[in-house]
C-alpha cells in the first residue's frame, strides 16, 4: 500500500483550485480567461460580471461545498460503520429529504427556503427513524451499527415508495421537476443557498473533525472500541448523525447526488491515508474537485441542454465497482 506523501496535500488543493478556475471561466457564453478574472473582481462588461459573479461563481462554490460534504460524510460513515460500501444515501437520508421536499411541494410551498428546510427536516427525520428501526430490530445486546445500515436502506426504500405515491397523481411538469431535483443539480445556486450550505458544512464538518479519532477506534470493531473506552453505540450514533446532517444539507441544496460519498473516501485511502482526521479532510478536497468537474461536464457536454449532475456522478459508479470487483477477485 502506498505511503502518504505530504506533497499530496498540495496536489489536492491545486486540483481543486484549477478545476474551479476552469469552471468559472467556461460556460455557454464565451468569456476569455483574462476577462473572467476581471469579472471576478468586478471589472469589465456588466453582463460578463453578472454571469461570472451571479451565475458561475455561486454554482462552483455550491458544487465544491456539496462535494466536500459528501466526501466527508462518506469517509466518516465507512469508518464508523466498518463498511467500505457505506454511503450517505444508503442511510435513508436522500429518501427522507426527497419526501420532505415533495410534501412541501404538495402542501403548496413556493419558496426555496421552505422547501430546503423541509428537505433538511425529512433527511434528519429519516435518520431518526432508521435509528429507531435499528434499535427495535437490533440484536440482543444493543443497536448494532450494521443493523443501522440495513435500517437506513429500508427507510430509503420506503421513502422512495412514498415519493412514487405522491407523484402518481401529480401534474407532469411537477413530476419532471421532482425527477430533475432527484437527479441533483447545482444549476439553481444562489448566494443565499451557498451561504446556508457553507454554514452547515462548516459546522458539521468541524464536529466531525473533532471526533475523527473516535472513528479510528470505531473502525476496529465494537468490542475492541469498548476495550479502548469508546461506547461504540453512542459514538457510532453521534458520527452517524453528524454525517447525516452533512448529507441532508447537500441534498437540501442540490438534490440527490450519488456515488460521491461512496467513491471519494476510497480514493483518499488509496493515496495512503488511514487516520480519519486527515482522511476526512482529503475526502472533502477530492469530493469538491469531483463535483465541480462533474457540474462543468453537466453544463458543457450536451450544450445547450443541461444534464443532471447526479447522472454524471452516477457514471462514476461503474468504473468504481469494476475496480472493486477486480480487487475482491
Amino acid at each position: 500500500m502506498k505511503r502518504f506523501h505530504p506533497a499530496t496535500w498540495l496536489l489536492l488543493i491545486a486540483s481543486l483550485a484549477i478545476v474551479s478556475l476552469v469552471a468559472i471561466a467556461r460556460g455557454a457564453v464565451p468569456i476569455p480567461l483574462g476577462a473572467a478574472f476581471d469579472a471576478l473582481r468586478g471589472v469589465g462588461d456588466m453582463t460578463a460580471i453578472a454571469i461570472v459573479r451571479d451565475l458561475r461563481l455561486p454554482r462552483v462554490l455550491l458544487g465544491a461545498l456539496v462535494g466536500a460534504g459528501l466526501g466527508a460524510s462518506g469517509a466518516a460513515l465507512q469508518g464508523s460503520l466498518r463498511n467500505p460500501l457505506a454511503e450517505p444515501y444508503l442511510l435513508g437520508v436522500s429518501g427522507g429529504a426527497a419526501v420532505g421536499a415533495v410534501i412541501a411541494f404538495s402542501l403548496g410551498a413556493g419558496s426555496d427556503v421552505v422547501i430546503t428546510l423541509a428537505a433538511f427536516a425529512g433527511g434528519i427525520g429519516a435518520v431518526f427513524v432508521a435509528l429507531g428501526v435499528a434499535r427495535a430490530g437490533g440484536r440482543s445486546v444493543r443497536a448494532d451499527l450494521r443493523t443501522l445500515l440495513i435500517a437506513g436502506v429500508i427507510v430509503g426504500a420506503f421513502a422512495n415508495a412514498a415519493i412514487m405515491v405522491a407523484l402518481a397523481s401529480a401534474e407532469p411538469n411537477t413530476v419532471r421537476g421532482a425527477l430533475w431535483w432527484m437527479m441533483g443539480s447545482a444549476a439553481d445556486a444562489t448566494w443565499t443557498g451557498v451561504a446556508w450550505l457553507g454554514a452547515s458544512i462548516a459546522g458539521a464538518g468541524a464536529a466531525l473533525l473533532y471526533w475523527a479519532r473516535e472513528i479510528d477506534v470505531l473502525a476496529l470493531g465494537e468490542e475492541t472500541a469498548a476495550s479502548l473506552g469508546v461506547d461504540a453505540e453512542r459514538a457510532g450514533k453521534r458520527i452517524f448523525l453528524i454525517a447525516a446532517l452533512l448529507a441532508a444539507a447537500t441534498v437540501a441544496a442540490a438534490g440527490l447526488i450519488g456515488f460521491v460519498g461512496l467513491v471519494v473516501p476510497h480514493i483518499a485511502r488509496h493515496l495512503g491515508l488511514r487516520s480519519h482526521r486527515p482522511l476526512i479532510v482529503a475526502a472533502s478536497l477530492i469530493g469538491a474537485t469531483l463535483v465541480v468537474a462533474a457540474d462543468l461536464a453537466a453544463r458543457t457536454l450536451a450544450a445547450p441542454v443541461e444534464l443532471p449532475l447526479g447522472a454524471i456522478t452516477a457514471l462514476l459508479g461503474v468504473p468504481f465497482f469494476l475496480v472493486q470487483l477486480r480487487r475482491a477477485a
Partner: protein, 310 residues
Amino acid sequence: MSVLRSRTLRVLVSVIAVGAACTAKSEDGDGVERKTPMAEKSQLPATDDFGDSLRTGLKPLRIVSLNPATTEILFALGAGNRLIGRTKYDLWPDSARLIPALGDGIRPNVEAVLGTKPDLVVLYASEDNRAAAGRLRAAGVSTVSLKIDSIAEFRRGVHMLGAVLGDQARARSVVDSVNRTLARVRAATAGLSKPTVFWHVWDAPLITIGAGSFMNELVEIAGGRNVYADLPAPSPAVSLEDVSKRNPDFILAGPIGAAQLAADPRWRIVAASRAGRVLTVDTLLVARPSVRLGEAALSLAKLLHPGAIR
C-alpha cells in the same frame, strides 16, 4: 427550487409535458394557405393514431374526452352537450367546467370512465394510454385516440372527430375558420421584422419550447423567431447562461413565470430581462393546439408587434 402553483401554468405545462412525451415532429404545412379543405371521406385515415379502426358516423350521445384539445374541438363541433367526462385541465369554454372531471388524461382510471357509461371515449395517443384504449375497446366502448401536438395534427384531428360524429361539414368549417385566422395573422406579420423570442415554460429545470412544439409554430406565425428553434425536442431544458448567449429580444412567460423572472437576480444576465422586455401570455389560450389556435396566434402577434395588428 421554486415550484409554481398557478393553475393556468399547470395547465400550460401539463400540455407541454404531454407533448414532450412523444417525439412530435412539426408537420408544418402552414406555409400554404389551405383553400381546399380535406373533405373527402376517402382522404381520412382508416385508423386512429393507435392503429385502431376509425368508426365513422357513430352519432355518440355520451362522450368522454380525455384531452383538453379534443374537448375544445368537440365543443366547437357542437357536441359539447353530449360530453359527460373531461380531464381536470379542460377549462374552456366555461361550460366545460360543468362536466365531471375524470383525472388528468394520462393513464385514466378505466373503471371510473366505464362507470359513466360512455359510448365514445377520445384519448390522447401517448403510449401511457395504449392499455386504457385497449381495455375500453374490450369492454365494447368505441375509442378514438389522437395525437394532437402540431397545427397540422389539429386539423387532422378535427376532420377525424367530425367523421366520427357524422358531421364533416361542421368539421370543415371549424378548420377553415382557424385557417383563416392563422392566414390573416401570417399575412399581417409577413412584412414585419421578426424579433427573437425565448419562451419561459418552467424554472427548475429551465424549460423552453423547441421545434417539436406547436408553440414554436405559433411564434413563427405571429411574426417571431424562437431562439431555440434549432432544438428538435418539444420542451428541452436549457441553461440560463445559454439563454443569455442567444440574447432573445423578448421573453414570453405566463404570469407566475414573469413574476419569478423579475424576482430572480440571476436573470439580469439576459438583456431582455434587464430591459423589462418580458411579455405575459395567457397560458390557457396559447397552451393547447386546439380551436383557438387562431386567437392564440393573434394574441402573440399583438404582443410582438403592438400597433401593427388590427
